[in-house]
Symmetry: C2
Subunit: 398 residues, 2 copies
């Protein structure tokens, strides 16, 4: 393995994205097979401008603390890329003699990784490209799940459990609580809230996902019926739920984000108003928003470890001469839960989305199947001891 | 001390309200001075209907687990009370030979406690009434702070710190994040978010409290200027911020709650739309809602202990023959931080609100003073080891 390495983080951060960065770095240090190791400052932005941080001699103590720090330590960025942009990125890499490129990201990022690999090839520049999966949405194909999802799932399940404890202690208050999760097109995170309903509170939340068409009349009936039964009501909705015509709820009033997608986050407020206006109950919403991807105290031990191992596995793939692949997690054991780190072609994951399997969702009871519970439960196991000082977490930046 | 005890929890729960319940119970068990100990089921509701749970022989293991459980374990309730209701409550207490009444609540509840005490007196029924302070809003008078506030403050400071880590890693994304805290008339919780800005992220959030008139033009300027400086912007607003005429923002569109108060929670969404519509930036909001009063994993050790000690102190006051008083915390040491548990007349706290001191707020920089930081920092210290199973907290109900 000759040449330098470049690592970039992409898209929205997760609570464990820095673990994948650290996994790559640790494996590079351990094997001593890499030349210099750079990090693209602010992701694509740094790649477009050749702005790299030299990470070669990052102390181990910094790495250990980065593993308990949310946000993307290298910085990240979102923009639409032209072919000319990609050429420019490869040229910057060529100037810095980078032969190994690691891209930590979701399905959009894997598309970019693929473009980079192909463009380098066309330019006659030998570049190894490895994708490391990352997304709280769990919508990456060809991997059992994506690092980042487990911690966000644990965050949401804890949030919904805590809230259930609160509202169950105020029965008859006429209040309906609607929790909104991330999930543009995929209901994985909303579905994970089902884990909250297995303990003492004994009230499963009503779950609404983008994969099942949303009907306002049915929703209001569900709410009323849960309220009548429990004296309170709790619904969990994906930000991207859609009506039977495939339109986002209140789509007309939704602005666009920098890459032209509807800027979601707010459907729970809309539904809360709907409840207040159409029933004798009062809706209110809880919107954890970007906290669900950055709440380090809720990260799961399993997810943290897997994100780290995925980084290490990515470096090993590069060592073995693989390119144009993404690290993929395959579940090889159920009891005890174990995964193997394999790889899949970027071409087969790039730009594709893996939605929530319809057979795991019951649109009558607004709940999820036992099969999904068994799928998701191992991913939220274990806690991380985040260093605390003066009552708050101590985070590392670079 | 002869006669039975009744304990009731009132209003919105906090993460530590069960600690005050446990403190009373533990002290009663320890001193063996009480007769039977009852808990009013669902607070005022149980008092109106004479529905009490017998807590006399609650096992210690249950109490220990209750101390790590959010929600009001006895249940709670909100409604407007007439004088006839209060008479009815006292009559139920007389039937059950209750001579000691402990009411865990906020300023509205202290008003109720006072009515109960006076009514019993008028009815010639000897009843000792003790108030135990509880509120996440910290708006109770004549106590250094209220149990419940420290944990909610820690929750908000952690939330804002995590989010700052996330958004600082995506500079230039044109996004503005607005976090909304509880605080109908008092800005204590929003102000506590300032603690997040003292670590590595080094970006103090812009803070808006109900005590300082809100001006839209100034807000948009603040946001733009923070964005220009940091490449991102983060504001924290109390749900009850008001304009210069004292009107809630978007007041016309706000529904009323069961006791006739405007149902708050949503001003951050309004402000996010304002940002998107009036700047080149895109607003988005984070609304932890009732999670900030039930997020047990964020509870502060100090707050948990103080809530418990306040319960114990309340029982001791009853033993000493006091009545018509609320337990009050007085800060007697700064370094190390220590408090004494004293008492104040219900008449002096009932129905009064303690707002955030204007001298602790700088409406130019939208930040808080060092004096406030020194006031609030001790209250968020220390963590609580919540029992976990299968990746989620294990909570106790009774």
């Amino acid at each position: 393995m000759k040449g330098n390495c470049l690592i970039a983080q992409s898209g929205g951060p997760t609570a464990v994205i820095n673990n994948s960065l650290c996994g790559i770095l640790k494996q590079a240090m351990h094997t001593q097979k890499a030349g210099k190791i750079f990090g693209a400052k602010r992701g694509i932005y740094g790649m477009l401008h050749g702005e790299y941080a030299n990470l070669t001699h990052l102390p181990s103590t910094v790495l250990d603390r980065l593993r308990c720090s949310p946000g993307a330590a290298l910085g990240s960025w979102r923009c639409k890329l032209s072919q000319a942009d990609v050429v420019r990125m490869v040229e910057h890499m060529r100037s810095a003699e980078i032969r190994f490129f690691f891209y930590i990201g979701g399905n959009g990022s894997m598309q970019v990784a693929r473009m980079i690999e192909q463009t380098a090839k066309e330019m006659g520049y030998g570049l190894t490209v490895i994708g490391i999966p990352k997304t709280v949405d769990n919508d990456l194909c060809l991997t059992d799940h994506a690092p980042g999802f487990g911690s966000a799932a644990k965050f949401i399940a804890t949030c919904v459990l805590d809230i259930a404890m609160d509202i169950r202690s105020l029965p008859g208050s006429k209040r309906v609580t609607i929790v909104e999760t991330m999930g543009r097109n995929a209901g994985w995170l909303a579905a994970a809230s089902a884990l909250s309903g297995e303990g003492d509170t004994d009230m499963p939340p009503l779950i609404y996902i983008p994969e099942a068409p949303f009907r306002t009349d049915r929703f209001l009936e569900d709410i009323q019926s849960q309220y009548d039964r429990y004296g309170c009501a709790l619904a969990v909705v994906s930000e991207g739920i859609r009506d039977e015509a495939g339109r986002l709820l209140a789509e007309d009033s939704i602005a666009k984000d920098p890459v032209g997608r509807p800027q979601l986050g707010g459907v729970s407020a809309y539904l809360a108003r709907l409840v207040s206006g159409n029933t004798g109950l009062q809706g209110r919403n809880v919107l954890p928003g970007i906290w669900q991807r950055s709440g380090m105290l809720f990260s799961s031990r399993v997810d943290v470890d897997e994100a780290y191992q995925a980084g290490k596995a990515g470096f090993q793939l590069a060592l073995e001469g693989r390119s144009g692949v993404m690290v993929s997690l395959r579940r090889i054991g159920k009891n005890p839960y174990t995964v193997a780190y394999e790889h899949v072609p970027l071409s087969e994951v790039a730009g594709r989305e893996r939605t929530f399997p319809v057979e795991w969702y019951d649109s009558r009871s607004r709940s999820v199947s036992q099969a999904f519970r068994e799928y998701v439960a191992p991913l939220i196991q274990g806690e991380v001891l985040v260093p605390m000082n003066n009552g708050l977490p101590v985070y590392q930046t670079i």
